[in-house]
Symmetry: C2
Subunit: 187 residues, 2 copies
DNA sequence: GTCTATATGCCGATAGAC
DNA sequence: GTCTATCGGCATATAGAC
């Protein structure tokens, strides 16, 4: 039935969306299947009608979280933002403290190594898309070293700033990372 | 008794050393008290004679792991290494894959936000020491923006390189981060 | 497809013998 | 101080009613 199929895919989407927010904000191990399903308005038992394992959900959630984070960063930005424009929006206190649509690249970085190949592949795919967007923002080659350096300064800067979130140095880190990106060659 | 005191502090040190290696390599949640005690040649029950909680051990382990990682990075380096010399040793495939004495700054970064104040404070303290050492290596002011940028490029670069460890881009990331550090102002 | 109930196992932390 | 045994809780995953 068409109706039933639509309903199932809608439910599935609600689960992934809830997972994207929870995993990114709290990390893989601190979020149970119960938490995800409750956030989606369901109970534990229904989970395995949609996903074969928690890990499979994680891989999908990383991709969805990345799309949501990208939309949030670019929301209200100029039509053709530069890499520095992106950094200005990406490296912000609001993002470091972690609202609902946070960047999985920065918030899950050190967790990925511990996961299975599917999850690591999803993370790598998202990272490459991030680098590509930065390269395009400055009309660079997609393999540009500078875009890669800017990506590390954004992801690393946000990750460290979040870890030091209750310390005055946290804001300074984000500021000097923006400067470093602005000072990269060919500007 | 002196003998008993010496024995206790020796045992305690063995626990912290084992914890430093295990936590840094596998993360906080993937390591149980059982694992730490077994690695130290003891059993679960003895743990609480030395520490009030797993979290308290974690805070101490982060500091010890940092000292061990520092010794490992500087081992065989020149007497007065520059920041670029440090980066050259810090950003290496061997380190990204994670031997026994890995850098807790890079490997635990995204986990710290989830922990209690004691743990976050230990991480912040280690990070500040790292920045100070980089600043001194290039005879800079300890509050130098450049030292902070170099620190983020090292920690962020290694963290991302490890996450992408089975991808060809992983090595490139470490190389371009070394270049970015070498190209920072005032060289 | 979703529910409740449960199998199975690991965790941090504690109690008490030695 | 270290051991064995255990408490209480929560995890992933599964079974079966509806």
């Amino acid at each position: 039935m068409a109706w039933s199929k639509a309903h199932k895919s809608q439910t599935r989407e609600a689960i992934v969306t809830a997972a994207a927010e929870l995993f990114t904000r709290l990390g893989y191990e601190r979020v149970g299947i119960n938490d995800v399903m409750a956030a989606a308005g369901l109970t534990r038992g229904a989970f395995y009608a949609h996903f074969v394992s928690k890990s499979a959900l994680y891989a999908e959630a990383i991709s969805v979280a990345a799309v949501r984070a990208k939309n949030r960063v670019l929301q209200g930005a100029s039509v053709a933002p530069s890499a520095s424009d992106i950094a200005e929006r990406y490296l912000s206190r609001e993002r470091a403290d972690g609202g609902n649509d946070c960047c999985p690249l920065a918030f899950l970085a050190t967790d990925i190594y511990q996961r299975d190949e599917q999850v690591r592949h999803a993370y790598a795919h998202v990272f490459k898309g991030f680098v590509r967007n930065i390269a395009r923002a400055d009309s660079r080659d997609e393999q540009s070293d500078v875009a890669l350096q800017a990506a590390v300064l954004m992801v690393g800067g946000l990750a460290v700033a979040r870890a030091l979130t209750d310390d005055p140095m946290s804001d300074r880190i984000m500021e000097v990372c923006k400067q470093a990106i602005a000072n990269l060659p060919d500007h």
